[in-house]
Symmetry: C2
DNA sequence: TCGGCGCGTGAAAGCGCTTGCACCCCGCGA
DNA sequence: TCGCGGGGTGCAAGCGCTTTCACGCGCCGA
């Protein structure tokens, strides 16, 4: 089913059909009716490829993220899709997961869209540059900045400081950070906030304990830390909620009470954080808004409305529950 | 950057450039090297639109789902993307959320892909027919079947029966089902399994209690049921985990013990189900595999390898935790 | 010596759409 | 009566690729 068949059916040229569909240019009422009827009868849906080629645009955006399991990325993606759809753009997704060949997948994606959001540490800087060099607008999400490229991220440092201060006020002194500051700029900032406060209060921060972003990883690492003969940490500050939930399990297995024997905090405020017992103290991020912002920033760039790079930082909120100490 | 510029740079025709890129047809070693060098120097990435138009394929698939919040859909989508990428296809997503204009969005999506997965009760049957009539292969996921269209779903009836039997064996008699059997074929089957077992055992099943698929909704409905002066249900069988978690909250608010005063079960085995206290008895579905299967079924259809409609049903597993009664 | 066969290459015809430009025709004012 | 303007329409030139066919050229066997 092509525009030619519609034109033939309606007895007009394809130009006229195009004009009717796009409401560009004048068409006589009667002609329009004939065309519309033909479109309807033949159930004509124009080919996006033909249209895209002629218009030189895809009317689609892409987003690259590490994974969708865990509520964090999913929420951001859904926020992104919501706004993108509103702006008349389809959304292509690419999960890098731990795949090889990320570069070629990203470049392929870039050739299918008008703009690309790159989320977290999924793509190397030089590949980002390559995409930018292709002339594809890029917005970075929760990722270290690259010169001249828009960035949207959430506040980390201040919240981490606030969390650290809260723990210290509870009397905890031996704090351990579970997560790899080199794995993402977010994690790095969280660690910086924590270690900064400790140093200011005259406590020498313990080296961060490398830990993958998963419950299994958190559990293993926490078990090791908590079963230490001496110098057992009084509080585990985890880089995200999944690690913290794993740590909670580890404590339970070792018959340690939380927060009595050890305090535990997470980051993200995922659903399970609220249902865990004790409830997990954590930091809430506006995940949907993060995605929505990215979609809008990208749209501005695609429309060419803005040239200067933009760097938004969204506000976060410490959520105190009982895993970090008893409260009234 | 187009194939023409690459051809000019290498001093060959675009035909040769195309052949080098696709490794179709013979090219002399030296010529190939010149072309590859030109591609590299000019950082040429072929236009998907041009290629797609010529090949008459998109090398992309779509998926339509209600929402991505909650782990269920996200997991399925990620399983889908994983397999689709492996098969060399990009993935376009469309969340219907509670949007108007679903039909036109779906038709637009259909015009951008080689095949489409429609997930849950997002799209009306007549629109599905319309997509099929466009010649776009469709696979339905966890959705009522449509004639001639592939369907992938998970087992519901047997697991629901098993769950019901388990509750009855615990001595519970007054069971209430929270969820709307008319909202999806999955829910309908779960209700059918429950009510079937009750009837067989001579217990007259109570009408299902309509309830949205959310924690808030579950909480409200459960609070109403549990605060009834008399005839309070002894067990709440919830259509999914989020409803069940809401019910758990309601019980807590009313100072009822779970499972002592009331048993509660969910469905899906989301992460929070495991962390809730008491742990939530539920039914686990192979969510990633659900998505993966859909991707493969779609691929077969696109490749034209199969004509007959296929109806896969994936196995599910009842997960007994403590919310349904004390166990050893 | 000559016909034929492959290999290497390019011209050109699409693929399905948008859009600049030209054309026709009618109504109006001069 | 003629000229002009504008509404209505279509022609045709792209957009960036793939692929069919045709062509030229060495090399082989007869």
């Amino acid at each position: 089913m092509t525009i030619y068949q519609v034109a033939a059916h309606a007895g007009v040229s394809i130009t006229t059909v195009s004009r009717v569909m796009r409401e560009s240019g004048p068409v006589a009422g009667e002609t329009r009716d004939r065309v519309l009827e033909a479109i309807d009868t033949l159930r004509f849906v124009p080919s996006r490829l033909g249209r895209g080629l002629a218009e030189r645009r895809h009317a689609a955006n892409g987003i690259v993220f590490p994974d969708l399991s865990g509520p964090y990325y999913a929420e951001v993606v859904v926020g992104y899709e919501e706004v993108a759809a509103e702006l008349g753009r389809s959304v292509l997704i690419l999960s890098t997961h731990g795949r090889e060949a990320v570069r070629s997948r990203v470049l392929d994606l870039a050739s299918r869209v008008d703009g690309l959001v790159i989320f977290g540490r999924t793509v190397r800087d030089d590949v980002v540059d390559e995409v930018v060099a292709m002339g594809v607008p890029v917005v970075l999400l929760a990722r270290t900045a690259v010169a001249g490229v828009d960035t949207i991220s959430t506040e980390n440092l201040a919240s981490a400081r606030q969390l650290a201060a809260h723990l210290l006020d509870h009397g905890h002194r031996r704090l351990a950070f579970l997560g790899d500051p080199e794995s993402s700029s977010d994690t790095a900032a969280r660690w910086a906030g924590l270690s900064g406060v400790l140093t200011e209060r005259g406590i020498r921060p313990r080296q961060p304990v490398r830990c993958g972003f998963s419950e299994a990883s958190g559990r293993t690492v926490a078990r090791r830390l908590l079963s230490a003969a001496r110098g057992r940490p009084q509080a585990l500050v985890c880089a995200d909620d999944e690690i913290a939930l794993g740590a909670l399990l580890a404590a339970e297995e070792l018959s340690l009470s939380v927060p009595g024997d050890v305090a535990i905090t997470g980051w993200d405020d995922i659903m399970a954080a609220r249902y865990a017992r004790p409830g997990l103290t954590t930091v809430r991020q506006p995940m949907r808004e993060l995605g929505g912002r990215a979609a809008r920033a990208l749209d501005e760039r695609i429309a060419g409305e803005r040239v200067a790079a933009r760097h938004d930082v969204l506000h976060t909120e410490v959520v105190i529950r009982s895993s970090c100490g008893e409260h009234d």
